[in-house]
Symmetry: C2
Subunit: 238 residues, 2 copies
DNA sequence: CGTGCTTTTGAATAGTATCAAGGCCGGTGG
DNA sequence: CCACCGGCCTTGATACTATTCAAAAGCACG
């Protein structure tokens, strides 16, 4: 990542996926002046469950997990997000976050307040249209995840979780290693199980040569084989 | 419902929630002329899984389930929709539906093709903004459902399903009966279990006086009590 | 070189799905 | 009007999967 204390202007940002770029050039300048860019270290909270929604966060560069916990403290990762993705939905006045966002690596995040967003959206149809399509697409993705959660066995859920991580954060070209170091606990919170099951299942998948474990890295040796394991669910995401 | 063979013009439509109404008046006329209104009988398909996406469906009046099936034929209801709701996301060129929509009652549905929608969205910021907020809100809702699916016991999932049905389709004021006749199988496909478990659990909830069963009707006698059963999940939907 | 955290493995328990059978109800036809 | 049929619902018994509890091993860090 680029140095922490230099703010990346929207005009100079290399993130080609960022929707802000769809605004008219004078709006990009305007919005850029209003934005607040923060670099979060790994494991920090971007926002907390229950806090008031003041605006929206765009990930300039980084890896983030969005999770939701119950009163027993049990957590569930509902979404993974990376460069160009949007965090913490646009909220109406007085709404609070039902979820929290935590960085999984050092991440550069841009914050835009509700008013600025609203004004920019009203003035830039292409921007609004693409934002709408983003939400629409995320909705379709999670609708599929819902089905899988309801029907899959634990092994299948774990395979799905691995593929979801790979599709969001990517894998290294040569070795197909996941581009992120992820704990058993985090995988459990994606798959909706516990870390013991993750351990057991990863060992089993390793023996089947579907994946390969090297230290803290997970290598997706047989990507297609993993997909085949869950092909009866007709997944269209990976 | 109003008579089947009379088309309700957008200008005369009584549905206050329909986003089309947020367009400029001349756009409403224009869009109205392009729309295709169809009345579906109970149990009919509005669109099928795998079909090409040509446009978007708005529910003028009715009750619809959106479901997704795997190759074994096992289904999962991912969303319930009623008056003013949108079905079948806006699609890019060549995309197909990963889900299907089926009417649960006679329903009047308005269809708008992709091109018309795109033009209307680009020309009417308020319309686009609200469409975006609709998707954003549905995304938040389903993010919560994801957590519940991953963590709830079967009884809790069934209570959640009942509350979800009640919040979408409503309950009668006097008796708190669900405003829809829903089969055990449909409830199972919402909760992600089987009809036997639904049967057992409804009997049990009946004995605990949390609900009351009268023929095919389900009466939500103790709405607050049901909510309390799943309060540890901090639900903000009902 | 301990201390604490994560991971792994094992055994016991609990929860859920599946299988099977019988009951209820509405519709159909004699 | 009643008997029969089929679909949906209910209930019970059984088998299995996954969670929980427990303990040991591995690893990072001061």
């Amino acid at each position: 990542m680029t140095s922490d204390n230099i703010i990346v202007e929207c005009g100079k940002c290399k993130n080609t996926d960022c929707y802000i770029k769809l605004c008219d050039s004078h709006w990009i300048l305007l919005v850029n002046n209003k934005k607040n860019q923060i670099v979060f270290k790994k494991g920090q909270h971007i926002f907390l469950e229950g806090h008031l929604i003041f605006g929206v966060y765009f990930i300039q560069e980084g890896k983030v997990k969005v999770n939701s916990s119950n009163l027993d403290g049990k957590k569930q990762i509902v979404r993974l997000a990376t460069d160009g993705h949007i965090l913490g939905h646009l909220g109406s006045q007085g709404e609070t976050y039902p979820i929290e966002a935590v960085t999984m690596e050092d991440s550069r995040i841009c914050f835009f307040d509700n008013q600025t967003m609203h004004d920019a959206l009203m003035a830039n149809p292409q921007f609004t249209f693409n934002m709408m399509m983003f939400y629409s697409k995320e909705l379709r993705k999670i609708e599929q995840r819902t089905k899988f959660f309801a029907q899959m066995t634990v092994e299948e859920k774990i395979i799905f979780a691995l593929l979801y991580v790979a599709s969001t954060f990517g894998i290294s070209k040569k070795e197909k290693a996941l581009n992120v170091i992820i704990s058993r606990q985090d995988l459990a919170e994606i798959a909706g199980t516990n870390s013991e099951q993750i351990s057991r299942t990863l060992t089993s998948l390793n023996q089947q040569n579907l994946i390969h474990i090297r230290g803290k890295e997970i290598i997706m040796s047989d990507y297609q084989g993993l997909k085949n394991c869950i092909s009866r669910y007709k997944i269209s995401l990976f």
